[in-house]
Structure formats: structure tokens, C-alpha cells
Symmetry: C2
Subunit: 527 residues, 2 copies
């Protein structure tokens, strides 16, 4: 069904991506650039020109669609990925032999003026979703009861409390309750009682205990752990209420007594949580976490930019986006910094990059700021190009803040939250920061879902979609298949976000994913 042999990602691009191996002498028609409709005339003009391929170009590699003079910038995704080291004729292979970073203007990114011009105002055509508005004003997209733990030692009790409510019949009188779930973790003791690791776990637990997707929360501790429940609650300013309570196993007389007490507490919570129901809320109450797992060569040109289009639409409608995975922006962090709304935000990003450099060095290695041999074989010429493919999923909005892992989001629009790239650890932080919907791109078919927040999955190619249809919500491979444009898929994702936030079940929810994916980032030594 592949009708196009090349894909131009933005109407401003002077290169296109080969969707198949191209041979010298072949005549190809560069496809209509699937941009957000910025330059419709340019698109039709470009699509009228037939392009003669001048040399062998492997699939996923770049071909020049216009003449590029030595010293000119080379543009993909509508953004600069390098400079022409020589004059490049249309139809030529563009790769690291002729696309380099040397000679790049020092300040080629957006200016602060340009960034500020893009800070969205609430649109005239306001959109809404149906969410659970909590007493504190925050809005949930689901209505779970959560059993959280301070330490691994209370995991078994937490799971057994939740298990008492796992049969659908038990909840049939509580139609507004999405379920009772235990989110347990492996840490909480055998750690220092201060410092980065302790603070990160504290922020994570606070983000979950107060998450709007929980109508009610029970927190179970052991009693002698490093992460003391009482200390945690007083630091977080939390106390027992109609929707929150806590206890320690050692204080109630052991396992059996703790399970009984927990089951009773949850029974009490059920009535309060069931009394909450969905109501109309503006998209400003949505916070989309974007995440990538198991990427392939197509991720950077289909699923990631399509999710980016949806992310931009959400921000334009007053909503919020959390972009993360610091190791993936390494070597091209200035692209993101150039979109910072002020120098403080840019400086915060620099601090995080410095932290990662020290952290990886202390752990005996360095993060790469060059494309790997595998990246090069896949057609990625510069670290800018690689990073832009990853960064595409966050969209192009101004960067309004940089957060520590699991730190509460405070600004509107697009924010960056520091985290590893590892999916469960990164998403755990994003949800703690306030994400109430998750968009997940994959080229390999990730097995991922997350409670209490719905997660929809986007495939970067049609093969993985067809093979794992039960797991993937939306196929972005249609962009390379020539069936849909990036703009169309982005709009489809945007509508899916509204539907899912309003209660439509994602594939991973149907499959029961989400209990095992809560993995707080453990920083520092286990002792």
C-alpha cells in the first residue's frame, strides 16, 4: 500500500526521507509535506516537481529536494539539522559526508521574541472534556482508589487489600469507581534518609497521594522504614480526611490485622469516591505526558511528530504537556533551550544536563552526544537530527519550565521534566508531576500501560500495528503508507486525547496494564 517513495516532513525542508531504497535515475514525486498547513501553496508547488535520484539512497536516508549551496543550512522537521559541507544537487544523498555541524550559526534557534509570540492564549473555539473535578480544583481523567506504600515491606499487604476488590462484582454498586489498585515499589528503606534519592521518592509519593485520578487514597507503611509515613505526611502537609488515610503494619498488630483494617478503610472510601462523577472541564485541565519506548527508524518521522502535532494543538487549546527523557536530548539540548520562555528556564535545563554528566561519570560512563553507528546506518547524520526526531513528540511550543523528576507542574503549556529514558521510571515521574493522560510512541510494540492514568499507544509503522493490534491504539504508519498526512494523524490523536480523557478505554486499559509500571526513580546507593 506504500504509494510514496519519499516523505518531506515540513514544507520548509530541503531534504526528504526515502521510504524505500532509491536507485540512480529513478524519478520520484516528493509527497505533499504533511505540515500543519502553514504553507499550503509551497506544498502544492513542491509536489508538482518530479525529482531525479542521482545516486543510491538507502531507505530512511535523506535525499535533497532542492539545490543546497555549500554553507547553507539543511532543514528537516522544519528545523536545522546541519550545514551543507559542499554544494548539493537535488536528488543527491544527504548524509554525514555532506551534512555537518561545522559552520552552523551559533544562534540558529528561535529568539526569545519568536518564542514568546507562540505562547498561546486560550482559543476562541474552546474545547472541553468530561473529567472528575476534585475538591481542591484539580481534575482527574479516571476515578481510582489507590493503595500506596512507603516501602517494599508493605507491598504484600497493599496488594492483598486491593485484591479484596478485584472481582468486578464487588464494585458493581460503585459504577463511578474505576477500580481499587495497589501501586507498590521496591524502595523506601536501605537508603539514606536525606539527599537526592530520598527527595525524589518523596516527591513521587506526594505526586501520587495527591493525584487527581485518585478519588481516594490509603497509604500503608511498615513502621521501621527509612521513608516514615508520618514524616512524609507532615512534609507534604497531608492528614487523614474523607478521602485519605494511612497506617503502619507494625502499629496495628501485623499482616492479617493490617489487611482487615485496610479493607475496612477502602469500603469507607468507596462511597465517597463513587459520589464523584464526570463533568465538563476545559482542556486547560489536561496534562499530556509524552513518552517514547522501543523506537525504530520511523519513530522520528511518524509517531513522534504526529504526537507533537497533537501536543501543540493541546497547548493551543490551553492544555499542558510534559516532555522528559533527558538522555535523549543530550547533545542537542540547545534546541530545547532556544524555546525557553526566559533565561531562568534555559538555565534550569543546563543544570539538569550538568547533573546528568556528573551522574553518568560517577557511574563510570558518558552519555553519547554523537549519533551512534546504528543511528548513522539508519540515516541520521547529526546529533541534531537524531534529537529532533525524539524531541518531535513534545511539539514546538515554548518551554515554560524545567522540573526535577516528579516535581509538581506549576506553569501552563509545555514543560520539561528531568528523567531517565526508561519508560516506567520516566512515566512514573511524569504522572507524579501531574500528567493525567499519556501518549506513548513505539516502533517495536511496547507492552506498556499505566494506572491510574490512561495511556494510548501510537505505532510508528504499520507492520507493528498489524501484528500487535490488541496493544496499539493509533497507527501512525499511515503517514509513510501515504494514507494520511502528519496533520491528519495529529488531529486524530488530538481528538483521541479528548475522548480518552473523558473515559474512553485505551487498549492498555482493556488489557489490564498499569499496576506493575509504577517504578519511582531510585537515585543513589542501596545500603
Amino acid at each position: 500500500m506504500k504509494v510514496n517513495k519519499t516523505l518531506r516532513l515540513d514544507s520548509a525542508d530541503n531534504v526528504a526521507v526515502a521510504l524505500t531504497d532509491l536507485q540512480p535515475g529513478e524519478l520520484v514525486s516528493p509527497p505533499k509535506a504533511p505540515t500543519q498547513g502553514a504553507h499550503p501553496e509551497a506544498e502544492s508547488a513542491a509536489s508538482a516537481i518530479m525529482l531525479e535520484i542521482r545516486e543510491q539512497i538507502p531507505m530512511m536516508h535523506k535525499v535533497a529536494v532542492t539545490a543546497i549551496s555549500q554553507g547553507d543550512t539543511i532543514t528537516k522537521f522544519g528545523q536545522v539539522i546541519g550545514v551543507a559541507a559542499v554544494d548539493i544537487l537535488p536528488g543527491s544523498h544527504v548524509h554525514y559526508h555532506n551534512c555537518v555541524l561545522e559552520g552552523l550559526p551559533a544562534n540558529f534557534g528561535s529568539s526569545t521574541d519568536a518564542v514568546m509570540a507562540k505562547v498561546p492564549t486560550t482559543p476562541a473555539n474552546q474545547r472541553f472534556f468530561r473529567g472528575f473535578r476534585r475538591a481542591n480544583g484539580r481534575v482527574g481523567t479516571r476515578n481510582f482508589i489507590g493503595i500506596l506504600t512507603s516501602v517494599n515491606c508493605s507491598a504484600t499487604v497493599a496488594k492483598q487489600i486491593a485484591a479484596a476488590f478485584s472481582h468486578p462484582a464487588v464494585l458493581q454498586d460503585y459504577p463511578n469507581v474505576d477500580g481499587v489498585i495497589a501501586l507498590t515499589h521496591e524502595s523506601g528503606c536501605g537508603m539514606r534518609a536525606a539527599g537526592e534519592g530520598f527527595d525524589a521518592l518523596t516527591r513521587t509519593l506526594e505526586g501520587y497521594v495527591t493525584h487527581p485520578n485518585f478519588g481516594g487514597v490509603l497509604m500503608v507503611g511498615l513502621g521501621c522504614e527509612t521513608m516514615q509515613v508520618q514524616g512524609f505526611l507532615s512534609r507534604a502537609g497531608l492528614q487523614d480526611s474523607a478521602t485519605f488515610s494511612s497506617f503502619n503494619i507494625q502499629e496495628v498488630g501485623g499482616t492479617r490485622a493490617a489487611i482487615e483494617k485496610g479493607v475496612e478503610r477502602v469500603k469507607t472510601l468507596l462511597t465517597a469516591v463513587n459520589a464523584q462523577s464526570r463533568q465538563q472541564c476545559p482542556l486547560a485541565e489536561l496534562t499530556l505526558a509524552v513518552q517514547c519506548g522501543g523506537s525504530d527508524g520511523f519513530s522520528g518521522i511518524t509517531a513522534n511528530p504526529a504526537l507533537g502535532v497533537a501536543a501543540d494543538l493541546l497547548v493551543q487549546h490551553g492544555g499542558n504537556v510534559i516532555y522528559s527523557e533527558t538522555p535523549e536530548i543530550f547533545g542537542a539540548e540547545h534546541l530545547l533551550k532556544a524555546r525557553a520562555v526566559n533565561a531562568d528556564v534555559a538555565a534550569k535545563l543546563s543544570e539538569r544536563i550538568d547533573w546528568w554528566q556528573a551522574y553518568t561519570r560517577a557511574n563510570g560512563f558518558e552519555l553519547n552526544n554523537n549519533p551512534s553507528p546504528g543511528n548513522k546506518a539508519g540515516g541520521l547524520s547529526t546529533i541534531l537530527e537524531k534529537s529532533l526526531g525524539a524531541q518531535a513528540k513534545g511539539g514546538t511550543s515554548p518551554l515554560t519550565d524545567v522540573l526535577l523528576y516528579a516535581e509538581q507542574r506549576k506553569t501552563r503549556g509545555l514543560v520539561f521534566m528531568d528523567s531517565p529514558g526508561y519508560d516506567p521510571v520516566s512515566v512514573t515521574g511524569q504522572v507524579a508531576s501531574g500528567a493525567n493522560i499519556i501518549g506513548f510512541t513505539t516502533g517495536r510494540g511496547s507492552a506498556f500501560g499505566f494506572k491510574p492514568v490512561p495511556c494510548f499507544k501510537l505505532s510508528s509503522n504499520t507492520r507493528v500495528y498489524d501484528f500487535m493490534k490488541d496493544d496499539i491504539d493509533i497507527n501512525c504508519g499511515t503517514i509513510i503508507d501515504g494514507e494520511q498526512t502528519l496533520t491528519e494523524v495529529g488531529a486524530e490523536i488530538f481528538e483521541a486525547i479528548i475522548a480518552i480523557a473523558s473515559g474512553e478505554q485505551t487498549k492498555s486499559e482493556t488489557l489490564g496494564y498499569g499496576d506493575s509500571e509504577f517504578c519511582p526513580w531510585k537515585i543513589g546507593a542501596v545500603v
Copy 2:
């Protein structure tokens, strides 16, 4: 019921522990030393003398039971804990003001000759337990089917496969099968594909896949993770057999297909695993992991030494013991080194200590090699005394090897396996190393159990036993209550080990503990 006011831990000791606050002028009768019956006449002589208390001595602190001259060694647990800084009269408070490390003979530990003399030969009165002897000759104490994972991404599938067998009715035709369990972990990707962290996870998974407490194993991967299932299997020399199989979710068509395939595989395994049954096996096939969690001031004088007595009995009967928790021996590692059977073993222990010093320094802190202010308030005068209380649980056998975390045990008798002190992480390594029974001491009432290996819990005091009776198997508080001697409790634990290894259920098994406690040590950065 407290009939004794002081407790002398060994007949060779010149100090006793106050079991209550003692006042000047009080006359107390030092109890019969609950040693392993080494010096019965000395005991009766000592117990005949009434001791006059000379000054205020807080509970858990030490009182001199004989005159100790300046420069003489001070002995508790039958071992040197310090040197008298001044002449000390019977009935005096012995603490860091008069019990110091300065002046300690450099080589006060056992000589190699003394160590080798204790290397046990199989006793005449051979004892047996009833275990599952596997095709490769190893012996299990339980007969589980395990669903293991390479990465967090396959955790949900693994748990859903196991859940299909969670109802007792499903297994009623397979009476020899103890259950179908999913042991999942948070790692396997977002990590470097080489180095200490990768090697530790590899050793851990290998130790579980081949553990004799599993009659059959299914390993489920995702497909694109760092810890590739195929690579792991070829390094471990494993391949599909009647009792082992593996597959990747991405290769079978996604979550639903993977769960169906897994359930079918387990159904096949059930018949093979049910065909295995218990038979008589010598105690040489038992490997006891000793572990301490939530210790209190009594742990070092009741539960730990009582478990040590049982550990020594097991070694004397040809069995094996794995002692761990490296941070706890810090500052007194020479006590363990002095028991090494040769210089190589002692050198291996030094290497591990050096590693921890570098590891903690890289993580911004140092392990303490002095008793903490809390330790001192609790009556512990020197790091030797603190460490001896912790080391007591391993018994006094010669040290035949030092293992890396999760490294397979190769020698007989007592070995030390490097690990953090954090219970789930440490025990996961001990089980991977080959432990098929776990003895766990606690002063606070730990909520702990472990699958597929039975874990019995020992309380250090009667209060916690009475309050958490559902969780604690044996109360060692009877030693301070004067109801049992250390020797008697140690013998009781030894008999319990044989009964539990033969199938008797522990409290934690009855309560359903053990699925959430599998926590491989994560060394190095998450990326």
C-alpha cells in the same frame, strides 16, 4: 515473666547485659550462660556468685561480672569486643569510657589452624529432610512453577499468566505443585548492556531460572529490551526443555497472544512438575540464608545468636549457610576475615569492602565504622560489639568463600555473599546464590516472606512476638525472659529448619508473602 535481671551470652564472657535498669547496691544473680554447653562447670560456678551493682546501669548496657584489669580484653558473645582502659571492678558499668579498641592485640582473632580445626566433617548422627531432588541433582524445599521476566515491560503479562492459576481449584489435580508465581522486577532496560549492574541482574536471573525450588520455569521477555532473553539464555547455557521455556511478547503478536501462549505453556509444565515429589535428602542439600530486618537492642543478644547456633548446627550436619549484608560488617570485617579458611577468601572479602568504600563515596557518603550515637545510647561500646551482634546470626563456622551478589555458591559450609543490608535486595541475591531456606530475625516485626523459598521469622523480644503472632514463627525473647537458653532456642530453630525444609508452612507462607519481595540489586545509573 522476666526472672533474670542480667544475661551473660557466653560462659567465657566477663560482662553481662542488663535486662532492666540496674541501681547501685542491687544484688543480682548473673544467669546461667546460655552457651552451647562448652564449659558447664564454669557456668554453675558463675551462677552461684551474687553480684553487687556498683553504679546505675541502663537496660541493655553492660555490667562487669568479674574483675577486669587495665589492658585485659573484654569479652561478650565469647568474643573480644574491646580492652579495659582502667581496672574495672565487678558490678561496674562497662561502656565506651572504660571499654576501648586502643591496645587491642593486632591479631586477636582465630588463627588459620583454629579455623581449619572447625571445618566440619559429616556427623555420625546424619540427619535428613524431605526435599525435591531435581534431574541435575540439586534439591528444592518447595515445588513452584515460576514465571520470570527479563524486563519490567513483561511484568503485566507474567502476572496475568500466573493469575490464571491463582485459584486453588485450578491446581487441585496437581497436589505436588506449590503454586504458579510471577516474580517480576523493575529493571532490564534503561541500563547499560555491560558492567556491574548488567552482570548482577544476569547472575540473579540465572540463579532463579535454575533454582531447585522451581519444578518448572517460563521466562517472558518483551523483545526490544537491553536484557535480551536469547542472549541471557546463551550466556547461561540454557535452552528449552520439559521444564523450561521462553518467548518474547513482540514475537508472538502482543499482550493477549502472549498471555494465551504462557497459560498453555504452564498447563504443559503442570504435569511435569506435579510428577516430582519429596524424598529423603541429607542436610548437606540445605542452604540457609540468614538475614536481619528491623533490628532492635535485643537482636544482637537473642534472635541473632540463636539463629547463629542453628546455623552452626546445620554446618556441623554438613549443611550450608549464606551470610550477607556487607554494610553491617563494616569496620569489623577482620572478625570475619579471621575465620576465612585461606588467604584467598580473606582477600575476596577485603575486595568487597574496598568496592563498597568506592561505591558509597561515588554516591556521596561514607559507611560508618564507628557505633552511632543511637548504638551508644543502646549500650554498644565499640564497632566490634555492634558488628558481633549482627554477625552472630551467621554462627561461628569457618568462612569457606566470599561470593559476589547472586553468585552461585560453590563451597560447602558458611559463605559470605556481598549485598546491601536492605532485606528484599539482600535475600533476592541469597536465593539466587542457592539458598533454599531463609532465617529472618527482627526486633520490630518485619513484614517479609519470600517465594519460592520458605522464610521463617524470629522475634528478638516477646513484646513484638505477642503483638504480631500471625507473622512471627519463633520467639527468641524467651532468652531474656529467662524461659529458654540460647542453646535451647538454637536447637528449636534447627529442628524448625528441618521441618520447614520438608514442607511445613511458615507464617509468611500462610499469609501469602513472597511475590513482591523479589528485588534484584540495581547497581549503576538508570538511563
